[in-house]
Symmetry: C2
Subunit: 172 residues, 2 copies
């Protein structure tokens, strides 16, 4: 697939196979995230890449609590969770979002499905999230921007919904 | 270039040739923006694509005023300005940022340079911005997320700065 095809065919995946994502593939996806644009090129975001089953399940449980659906798995069974946070500066959410976009597009280019899962902000504000950063030796004021659920697609990926009218206003 | 190469080599361009971007190329870039992920697939963002010289210069002038550098061109001479806004909902900034990331990556894949220019939020809050939306028949509560300056690169594109240490925290 060429890049335009990747950008156009990537869809949010909500059904994953439990198989681990190949480590080399994961490394390439993460590297693409590092090269996303950031305000003033400050590279303020970080990516916490979790394949550890216990931590993956704990994040899922915390996330489910936050959205009021305890006991469910908001990550749709994906074996990998990428938690993107950014230094608390004015462009934090913009920067972190671009990292997530790169991660999702790189994944799709490499045959890996993904879905943006929100509530990272709330998660990192909880004692659980603060402790997680501390355990990883991450100092400073970071805010959660989003998660990427990552894994191989179970079944057929969905087709894109038709695009809305009036996406683009063209002033020539 | 394959997709991973595009994501990794795209850099912010701050020197543009004045030549118009080919209309077919511009259309493909815009289409890639339409397929960015949005919260709940709601497709809440819009893209105002400006090549009209008068409006392009007016946006540049307003933007320069906002950042306290009147008389300068914050768009580095780029012939195209893409203004991305999103419906005022909780995921507006996240969604609009993903659209911008797609626009910039698609542009790079097609040999077109880009730079994210901020202050779209302030711009659309001014009478100028409110009138612009009105003139285009855009109703509802939209917030500005960002601009993309777009054009052919003048000179050699810059090499990426080295990536910082500790971009990724890997929990296996």
């Amino acid at each position: 697939m060429d890049t335009l095809e990747v950008l156009k065919t990537r869809r949010s995946i909500r059904k994953f196979r439990p198989d681990a994502v190949d480590e080399e593939v994961l490394a390439r996806i993460l590297e693409a995230g590092e090269y996303a644009p950031t305000g003033m090129g400050a590279q303020s975001p970080i990516i916490i890449a979790v394949t550890n089953r216990e931590l993956r399940d704990r994040i899922a449980a915390e996330n489910a609590e936050i959205c009021g659906r305890p006991g469910t798995d908001p990550f749709y069974g994906a074996p990998v969770i990428l938690l993107v946070a950014a230094e608390n500066r004015p462009t934090a959410v913009y920067d972190g979002s671009c990292v997530i976009a790169n991660l999702m597009n790189a994944a799709w280019a490499l045959g890996v499905g993904s879905c943006w899962i929100h509530r990272a902000k709330e998660e990192l504000e909880l004692p659980f999230g603060r402790q997680l950063l501390k355990d990883l030796g991450i100092e400073g004021d970071y805010i959660g921007v989003g998660h990427v659920a990552l894994g191989y697609v179970d079944g057929q990926p969905p087709l894109p919904k038709p695009r809305k009218a009036n996406w683009v206003y063209r002033v020539k």
